[in-house]
Protein backbone atom coordinates (compact mmCIF):
# COMPACT_ATOMS: atom_id res chain seq x y z
CA UNK A 1 0.00 0.00 0.00
CA UNK A 2 2.92 2.34 0.56
CA UNK A 3 3.77 2.16 -3.12
CA UNK A 4 0.48 3.82 -4.10
CA UNK A 5 1.04 7.15 -2.34
CA UNK A 6 0.85 9.30 -5.55
CA UNK A 7 -2.60 7.89 -6.33
CA UNK A 8 -3.79 8.73 -2.79
CA UNK A 9 -2.52 12.30 -3.21
CA UNK A 10 -4.53 12.56 -6.45
CA UNK A 11 -7.66 11.33 -4.65
CA UNK A 12 -7.08 13.87 -1.87
CA UNK A 13 -6.81 16.77 -4.34
CA UNK A 14 -9.98 15.74 -6.18
CA UNK A 15 -11.96 15.34 -2.95
CA UNK A 16 -10.89 18.76 -1.62
CA UNK A 17 -11.91 20.37 -4.93
CA UNK A 18 -15.24 18.55 -4.91
CA UNK A 19 -15.94 19.72 -1.36
CA UNK A 20 -15.27 23.34 -2.38
CA UNK A 21 -17.61 23.09 -5.40
CA UNK A 22 -20.46 21.45 -3.48
CA UNK A 23 -20.54 23.20 -0.13
CA UNK A 24 -19.17 26.74 -0.52
CA UNK A 25 -21.21 29.80 -1.40
CA UNK A 26 -18.73 32.38 -2.63
CA UNK A 27 -18.31 32.31 -6.42
CA UNK A 28 -14.52 32.72 -6.28
CA UNK A 29 -14.20 29.72 -3.95
CA UNK A 30 -16.21 27.59 -6.38
CA UNK A 31 -13.85 28.56 -9.21
CA UNK A 32 -10.83 27.67 -7.06
CA UNK A 33 -12.43 24.26 -6.44
CA UNK A 34 -12.80 23.62 -10.17
CA UNK A 35 -9.12 24.49 -10.66
CA UNK A 36 -8.14 22.06 -7.89
CA UNK A 37 -10.04 19.20 -9.56
CA UNK A 38 -8.29 19.97 -12.85
CA UNK A 39 -4.86 19.98 -11.14
CA UNK A 40 -5.60 16.59 -9.59
CA UNK A 41 -6.46 15.09 -12.98
CA UNK A 42 -3.24 16.44 -14.53
CA UNK A 43 -1.17 14.90 -11.73
CA UNK A 44 -2.88 11.57 -12.30
CA UNK A 45 -2.05 11.64 -16.02
CA UNK A 46 1.64 12.24 -15.33
CA UNK A 47 2.05 9.58 -12.65
CA UNK A 48 0.67 6.93 -15.01
CA UNK A 49 3.77 7.20 -17.18
CA UNK A 50 6.66 6.68 -14.78
CA UNK A 51 9.17 3.87 -14.95
CA UNK A 52 11.26 2.84 -11.96
CA UNK A 53 14.75 4.51 -12.04
CA UNK A 54 13.90 6.20 -15.32
CA UNK A 55 15.30 9.34 -16.97
CA UNK A 56 13.58 11.90 -19.20
CA UNK A 57 13.04 10.72 -22.82
CA UNK A 58 15.51 13.23 -24.32
CA UNK A 59 18.63 12.20 -26.23
CA UNK A 60 20.67 15.40 -25.75
CA UNK A 61 23.30 14.85 -23.07
CA UNK A 62 22.07 11.45 -21.95
CA UNK A 63 24.17 10.10 -19.04
CA UNK A 64 26.40 7.06 -19.59
CA UNK A 65 25.06 3.54 -19.43
CA UNK A 66 21.36 4.18 -20.10
CA UNK A 67 19.79 1.74 -22.58
CA UNK A 68 17.16 3.55 -24.34
CA UNK A 69 13.70 2.18 -24.54
CA UNK A 70 13.94 0.23 -21.33
CA UNK A 71 15.07 2.98 -18.96
CA UNK A 72 13.20 6.06 -20.14
CA UNK A 73 9.88 7.42 -18.93
CA UNK A 74 6.93 7.17 -21.32
CA UNK A 75 6.48 10.30 -23.49
CA UNK A 76 2.81 10.01 -24.50
CA UNK A 77 1.16 10.85 -21.10
CA UNK A 78 3.36 13.96 -20.85
CA UNK A 79 2.11 15.16 -24.24
CA UNK A 80 -1.55 14.61 -23.24
CA UNK A 81 -1.03 16.53 -19.97
CA UNK A 82 0.16 19.56 -21.97
CA UNK A 83 -3.15 19.68 -23.82
CA UNK A 84 -5.09 19.30 -20.58
CA UNK A 85 -3.32 22.25 -18.94
CA UNK A 86 -4.20 24.53 -21.86
CA UNK A 87 -7.86 23.44 -21.66
CA UNK A 88 -7.86 24.36 -17.96
CA UNK A 89 -6.54 27.85 -18.73
CA UNK A 90 -9.26 28.41 -21.35
CA UNK A 91 -12.08 27.33 -18.99
CA UNK A 92 -10.69 29.52 -16.17
CA UNK A 93 -10.58 32.61 -18.41
CA UNK A 94 -14.21 32.20 -19.48
CA UNK A 95 -15.42 31.54 -15.91
CA UNK A 96 -13.73 34.68 -14.55
CA UNK A 97 -15.22 36.84 -17.33
CA UNK A 98 -18.71 35.62 -16.47
CA UNK A 99 -18.09 36.34 -12.77
CA UNK A 100 -17.22 39.98 -13.62
CA UNK A 101 -20.52 40.30 -15.52
CA UNK A 102 -22.53 38.68 -12.72
CA UNK A 103 -21.03 41.01 -10.14
CA UNK A 104 -21.87 44.06 -12.18
CA UNK A 105 -25.47 43.01 -12.65
CA UNK A 106 -26.41 41.72 -9.18
CA UNK A 107 -23.80 43.49 -6.98
CA UNK A 108 -23.16 40.40 -4.84
CA UNK A 109 -20.96 37.29 -5.01
CA UNK A 110 -23.24 34.96 -3.02
CA UNK A 111 -24.72 32.11 -5.04
CA UNK A 112 -27.95 31.71 -3.03
CA UNK A 113 -28.82 35.41 -3.36
CA UNK A 114 -28.30 35.39 -7.11
CA UNK A 115 -30.82 32.61 -7.38
CA UNK A 116 -33.47 34.51 -5.47
CA UNK A 117 -33.29 37.71 -7.49
CA UNK A 118 -34.52 36.00 -10.61
CA UNK A 119 -37.35 37.93 -12.15
Amino acid sequence: MIYNIPYLVVVGLILIGLFAVMFKRNLIKIVIGVTLIESGVNLFLITLGFRKDGVAPIFTGLPEGVNYPADMALPVPQALTLTSIVIGVAVLALMLSMIIHLYRHHNTLDVSKIRRLKE
Binding site: A56, I58, F59, T60, G61, L82, V89, A93, L96, I100
Partner: protein, 160 residues
Protein backbone atom coordinates in the same frame (compact mmCIF):
# COMPACT_ATOMS: atom_id res chain seq x y z
CA UNK B 1 -7.95 51.21 -9.92
CA UNK B 2 -6.12 48.92 -12.22
CA UNK B 3 -5.28 51.49 -14.87
CA UNK B 4 -3.20 53.98 -12.93
CA UNK B 5 0.10 52.14 -12.94
CA UNK B 6 2.54 51.90 -10.09
CA UNK B 7 5.35 54.09 -8.75
CA UNK B 8 8.54 55.09 -10.54
CA UNK B 9 10.72 52.43 -8.90
CA UNK B 10 8.43 49.60 -10.01
CA UNK B 11 8.25 50.95 -13.56
CA UNK B 12 12.03 51.22 -13.84
CA UNK B 13 12.74 47.71 -12.53
CA UNK B 14 10.06 46.21 -14.80
CA UNK B 15 11.50 47.95 -17.85
CA UNK B 16 15.03 46.79 -17.00
CA UNK B 17 14.13 43.14 -16.46
CA UNK B 18 11.69 42.73 -19.36
CA UNK B 19 14.36 41.99 -22.06
CA UNK B 20 15.83 39.19 -19.96
CA UNK B 21 12.43 37.52 -19.57
CA UNK B 22 11.87 37.91 -23.32
CA UNK B 23 15.21 36.26 -24.20
CA UNK B 24 14.59 33.40 -21.75
CA UNK B 25 11.17 32.67 -23.25
CA UNK B 26 12.38 32.88 -26.86
CA UNK B 27 15.26 30.53 -26.02
CA UNK B 28 12.79 27.95 -24.68
CA UNK B 29 10.65 28.27 -27.84
CA UNK B 30 13.56 28.07 -30.30
CA UNK B 31 15.26 25.01 -28.76
CA UNK B 32 12.07 22.99 -28.42
CA UNK B 33 13.34 20.04 -30.43
CA UNK B 34 16.57 19.62 -28.41
CA UNK B 35 15.85 20.35 -24.75
CA UNK B 36 12.66 20.23 -22.66
CA UNK B 37 10.30 23.01 -23.71
CA UNK B 38 8.59 23.96 -26.92
CA UNK B 39 5.93 26.33 -28.15
CA UNK B 40 3.40 26.25 -25.32
CA UNK B 41 5.87 26.47 -22.46
CA UNK B 42 7.92 29.33 -23.93
CA UNK B 43 4.76 31.19 -24.90
CA UNK B 44 3.54 31.08 -21.30
CA UNK B 45 6.88 32.54 -20.08
CA UNK B 46 6.78 35.49 -22.52
CA UNK B 47 3.10 36.15 -21.70
CA UNK B 48 4.04 36.38 -18.01
CA UNK B 49 6.69 38.98 -18.87
CA UNK B 50 4.14 41.01 -20.83
CA UNK B 51 1.69 40.78 -17.90
CA UNK B 52 4.42 42.23 -15.65
CA UNK B 53 4.73 45.25 -17.97
CA UNK B 54 0.93 45.61 -17.99
CA UNK B 55 0.74 45.70 -14.18
CA UNK B 56 3.60 48.20 -13.88
CA UNK B 57 2.33 50.70 -16.44
CA UNK B 58 -1.45 50.43 -16.24
CA UNK B 59 -3.82 49.32 -18.98
CA UNK B 60 -4.81 52.82 -20.12
CA UNK B 61 -1.24 53.73 -21.05
CA UNK B 62 -0.72 50.44 -22.88
CA UNK B 63 -3.92 51.03 -24.88
CA UNK B 64 -2.59 54.37 -26.14
CA UNK B 65 0.43 52.55 -27.59
CA UNK B 66 -1.17 49.50 -29.24
CA UNK B 67 -4.73 48.72 -30.18
CA UNK B 68 -6.35 45.46 -29.27
CA UNK B 69 -7.03 44.35 -32.84
CA UNK B 70 -3.33 44.62 -33.73
CA UNK B 71 -2.56 41.92 -31.17
CA UNK B 72 -5.37 39.80 -32.60
CA UNK B 73 -3.67 40.02 -36.00
CA UNK B 74 -0.55 38.39 -34.50
CA UNK B 75 -2.64 35.55 -33.15
CA UNK B 76 -4.31 34.96 -36.49
CA UNK B 77 -0.88 34.84 -38.16
CA UNK B 78 0.25 32.15 -35.72
CA UNK B 79 -2.83 30.00 -36.23
CA UNK B 80 -2.72 30.31 -40.03
CA UNK B 81 0.99 29.44 -40.04
CA UNK B 82 0.31 26.24 -38.08
CA UNK B 83 -2.52 25.12 -40.38
CA UNK B 84 -0.54 26.13 -43.48
CA UNK B 85 2.37 23.89 -42.45
CA UNK B 86 -0.04 21.00 -41.96
CA UNK B 87 -1.54 21.48 -45.43
CA UNK B 88 1.93 21.82 -46.99
CA UNK B 89 2.66 18.40 -45.53
CA UNK B 90 -0.44 17.10 -47.31
CA UNK B 91 0.71 18.64 -50.62
CA UNK B 92 4.36 17.62 -50.56
CA UNK B 93 4.34 14.48 -48.45
CA UNK B 94 1.14 12.62 -49.12
CA UNK B 95 -0.46 12.59 -45.66
CA UNK B 96 -1.73 15.36 -43.37
CA UNK B 97 1.02 16.68 -41.02
CA UNK B 98 3.78 14.90 -42.93
CA UNK B 99 7.36 15.91 -42.16
CA UNK B 100 8.44 17.11 -45.60
CA UNK B 101 11.66 18.93 -44.69
CA UNK B 102 13.68 16.06 -43.23
CA UNK B 103 16.17 14.55 -45.68
CA UNK B 104 16.40 17.66 -47.86
CA UNK B 105 19.59 19.81 -47.89
CA UNK B 106 17.87 23.01 -46.65
CA UNK B 107 17.71 24.57 -43.19
CA UNK B 108 16.52 22.20 -40.40
CA UNK B 109 16.90 19.25 -42.72
CA UNK B 110 19.52 16.83 -41.44
CA UNK B 111 18.87 13.92 -39.14
CA UNK B 112 20.87 13.51 -35.91
CA UNK B 113 23.07 10.52 -35.10
CA UNK B 114 21.47 7.73 -33.09
CA UNK B 115 21.91 7.55 -29.36
CA UNK B 116 23.23 10.27 -27.07
CA UNK B 117 24.40 13.29 -29.09
CA UNK B 118 25.25 16.93 -28.51
CA UNK B 119 22.62 19.49 -29.50
CA UNK B 120 22.60 20.43 -33.19
CA UNK B 121 20.04 23.09 -34.06
CA UNK B 122 20.11 22.18 -37.75
CA UNK B 123 17.97 19.08 -37.13
CA UNK B 124 14.29 18.71 -36.54
CA UNK B 125 12.42 18.89 -39.82
CA UNK B 126 9.20 20.89 -39.64
CA UNK B 127 9.16 20.94 -35.82
CA UNK B 128 10.99 24.30 -35.15
CA UNK B 129 8.69 26.13 -37.60
CA UNK B 130 5.62 24.71 -35.86
CA UNK B 131 7.15 25.74 -32.50
CA UNK B 132 7.44 29.35 -33.65
CA UNK B 133 3.86 29.44 -34.97
CA UNK B 134 2.34 27.98 -31.79
CA UNK B 135 4.53 30.19 -29.57
CA UNK B 136 3.33 33.34 -31.36
CA UNK B 137 -0.27 32.21 -31.04
CA UNK B 138 0.03 31.54 -27.29
CA UNK B 139 1.81 34.87 -26.58
CA UNK B 140 -0.76 36.96 -28.45
CA UNK B 141 -3.75 35.03 -27.09
CA UNK B 142 -2.81 35.15 -23.42
CA UNK B 143 -1.74 38.80 -23.55
CA UNK B 144 -4.96 39.86 -25.25
CA UNK B 145 -7.09 38.03 -22.63
CA UNK B 146 -5.22 39.73 -19.77
CA UNK B 147 -5.39 43.18 -21.43
CA UNK B 148 -9.14 43.05 -22.08
CA UNK B 149 -9.95 41.81 -18.56
CA UNK B 150 -7.71 44.45 -16.93
CA UNK B 151 -9.33 47.25 -18.90
CA UNK B 152 -12.88 46.05 -18.41
CA UNK B 153 -12.63 45.65 -14.64
CA UNK B 154 -11.66 49.31 -14.27
CA UNK B 155 -14.09 50.88 -16.67
CA UNK B 156 -17.79 50.32 -16.85
CA UNK B 157 -18.22 49.85 -20.57
CA UNK B 158 -16.38 47.50 -22.90
CA UNK B 159 -13.24 47.90 -24.90
CA UNK B 160 -14.18 48.67 -28.43
Amino acid sequence: MSDAGMSKIVRTIASVSFPFVLIYGLYIIAHGHLTPGGGFQGGAVVASGCAMILIAYGSSWILTKTKEHHISLLEHAGALGFIGLAFLGLLLGGVFFANFIIGEPILFGSAPALGSTLADINTGGVLPLMNFAVGLKVIAGLFSIILVMAYASGHKEGIQ
